[in-house]
């Protein structure tokens, strides 16, 4: 046994983390905060403008539109991917050779880089050379994502569903696999219907992983950038200009650093707030089912 001693040197071990976090998060964030209260006309001259950018932004129609588009997009994504993911997970085999086959084919889309996914679908949907676009066109559908906002939205949503539903599937599948057989046997004996088994056994037991799935999918879809940028570039018109695309347009395209900084801060706060709300609501459902009635 070694005698007790307090070793202050241990603090040095934490130093690299401090440095990394400082350079990668704290300093950039502070720079953004700094920009959001100032105006610049280039050549490194800054003027204090107070809350102007924030006020302007809140009243700007462009921001409202982008924000609404973003909310709509995330809602549609969650509404499709979560039930679809659960449904696929429920149909996946629990044992045998089908398990690795299913798992690997589910994992494949997750391995493809974002911009490649964008490019794949950009080509896939093209009316002239794309398999999807051409087939739809020759079947007589009026499909063209570069001109029709509905087609553009559909393309991006289907692409996101294709890309990310697997994540929900894998999480839900993990949740399902952790349910002991005895539960299913007991349900059979109790004469429970398939729906009752889902409602009273599978769904409650999957609750934790679903919380993670919803949070991840919400945050990711709310910050989507690369894929729509590659496919539609935010068009046609502004119809697929989501918040992140708008932000980049403003910051890089127009070099409006101040408003862009203000927007990114609001964007950040919105994500933080909504994630918090999701988390609290979902864990409250969990709490309620464990403490309820007590």
């Amino acid at each position: 046994m070694i005698a007790k001693q307090t070793n202050q040197k241990a603090w040095f071990m934490v130093l690299p983390v401090f440095l990394v976090v400082a350079f990668s998060a704290v300093i950039p964030l502070m720079t953004v905060v700094n920009y959001s209260f100032q105006d610049t006309f280039g050549s490194n001259q800054f003027f204090w403008v107070g809350m102007t950018w924030f006020r302007d932004l809140i009243h700007s129609e462009r921001f409202h539109d982008a924000f609404l588009r973003q909310i709509m997009f995330s809602s549609i994504i969650l509404a499709i991917e979560i039930p679809l993911g659960i449904a696929i997970a429920l149909t996946m085999p629990k044992k045998g050779w089908g398990v690795p086959v299913c798992l690997i084919s589910m994992a494949l889309p997750l391995l493809i880089p974002w911009n490649v996914v964008g490019t794949i679908w950009q080509i896939f949907g093209r009316v002239d050379i794309g398999l999807l676009g051409h087939t739809l066109a020759s079947l007589g559908f009026d499909y063209n994502y570069t001109q029709d906002p509905v087609a553009a939205w559909l393309t991006i949503i289907i692409m996101d569903v294709w890309h990310w539903t697997s994540l929900v599937v894998l999480l839900a599948y993990a949740g399902l696999c952790s349910i002991p057989d005895a539960y299913y046997q007991a349900a059979k004996i109790d004469g429970a219907s398939r729906l009752a088994v889902f409602r009273y056994i599978q769904l409650p037991k999957m609750q934790r992983v679903l919380l993670i799935a919803i949070l991840l999918r919400f945050m990711d879809s709310f910050m989507i950038y690369t894929e729509p940028f590659v496919i539609t570039g935010g068009g046609p018109g502004n119809s697929t200009t989501f918040m992140s695309i708008d932000l980049v347009k403003m910051a890089i395209g127009q070099f409006d650093l101040g408003p862009a900084a203000a927007m990114s801060l609001i964007y950040f706060l919105v994500i933080l707030l909504l994630s918090y709300v999701f988390y609290t609501v979902m864990s409250n459902i969990g709490e309620e089912s464990s403490n309820g009635g007590a």
Partner: protein
């Protein structure tokens, strides 16, 4: 309500095979009376859970038939057999209240609310759950949860049998007593056929009117707790039942006596001469052995160890390499002492090749 008959049941997890070693359950025939309390007792891997799953329909046997009364249910799925099962770990529906949990099997069968409610309340009273009826089941203790599992079995008045798969595994000893006696009480009240699987002899013996002892996929003895204790038909039963188990020591027979390491002990019965190749052993319960001062007549033994376990004392004694356990309320001898081991000959059994033989009264 039904008599349950198992006809030439055998099961192999690898499918039909001619190699008897592949069978987790070797050919067996059994009949269970309606309303009886039965226990399947054996070490892990003896096939008792396999047998239980065949009765509940979670498993279809490779060979043989399962009959409920005279109906062949071998291929009928669990939900149509009208049985209930309680598992090792409590299975409850987390999001439901105790009331909803208990009502679930009836609700699934489309019973009306007016029928369900009084039944649930009555049952909850019998189980001592009435205070928690509207609490979420998830938040209760393990024993209360296990009571809910049990309640879901009892709620249906018409079940053919209630099956228990080591239901007290996760219950503390003190509460085991309470649950066990409650189970026995409920059996008397409801009169359902109950089949209880366990490796714990106390649970099996206290619960069942008839115990089926299994070993390596075969039934070694079926009998009342008393028969299993007094006259085990196989040395395995002698060893497995009782704590400590039966003392089983090699001996030789000579007319009305037996010889243990050349010491002669007179028996109550005369046994037939056995071939030289036969393995002859004497089996006697530690409760039927007595340690007497060395001067008294008996088998001279050396005391290896005496343990005081409160209620009684357990001594380990030895004659050369053969050891015996002796259970007595009070033991005066000390470790290292020599003593005389006295056999209660009325409870001394003789085994030839592990099977009990009977002698002739003379």
């Amino acid at each position: 309500m039904a008599n349950i008959t198992l006809k030439d049941i055998a099961h192999s997890y690898t499918g039909a095979s001619n190699n008897p070693d592949d069978y987790a359950l070797k050919k067996l025939n059994l009949t269970w009376r309606d309303g009886g309390a039965y226990a399947l007792l054996g070490p892990s891997g003896c096939g008792k859970t396999t047998l239980l799953n065949i009765i509940s329909g979670l498993l279809t046997p490779t060979k043989g038939q399962v009959l409920f009364n005279n109906d062949d249910v071998t291929r009928l799925p669990t939900e149509r057999r009208n049985i209930a099962q309680i598992f090792q770990f409590p299975v409850i529906y987390d999001t439901m209240t105790v009331f909803e949990n208990l009502a679930f099997p009836l609700k699934n069968r489309g019973r009306s609310k007016t029928e369900i409610e009084p039944r649930v309340i009555e049952l909850a009273k019998m189980l001592g759950l009435e205070k928690d009826l509207f609490t979420k089941a998830q938040h209760l203790t393990a024993d209360a949860k296990q009571k809910i599992s049990l309640g879901r079995g009892l709620i249906r008045q018409s079940v053919n049998a209630i099956l228990f798969d080591e239901p007290l595994t996760v219950i503390d000893p003190q509460l085991k007593w309470e649950l066990r006696s409650q189970l026995k009480y409920l059996h008397k009240q409801f009169g359902f056929t109950m089949i209880y699987v366990t490796h714990d002899q106390t649970e099996a013996l206290t619960f069942a009117d008839e115990v089926i002892v299994m070993f390596e996929g075969e039934i070694v003895q079926v009998g009342t707790p008393e028969a299993l204790f007094e006259r085990p038909e196989h040395t395995f039963v002698g060893y497995f039942i009782g704590s400590p188990g039966m003392n089983i020591v090699p001996c030789r027979l000579q007319g009305r006596s037996m010889l243990i390491e050349d010491h002669e002990i007179t028996l109550d019965q005369t046994y037939k001469e056995q071939p030289d190749s036969a393995k002859i052993e004497v089996g006697i319960r530690p409760e039927y052995l007595r340690l007497a001062p060395a001067e008294e007549k008996g088998l001279p033994v050396k005391i290896i160890k005496v343990d005081d376990i409160g209620r009684h004392k357990i001594a380990r004694v030895a004659v050369n390499d053969h050891t015996f356990h002796v259970v007595m309320p009070e033991i005066s001898g000390m470790t290292g002492d020599t003593a005389s081991l006295v056999f209660d000959t009325a409870h001394t059994n003789i085994y030839v090749n592990d099977h009990l033989i009977t002698g002739e009264q003379s």
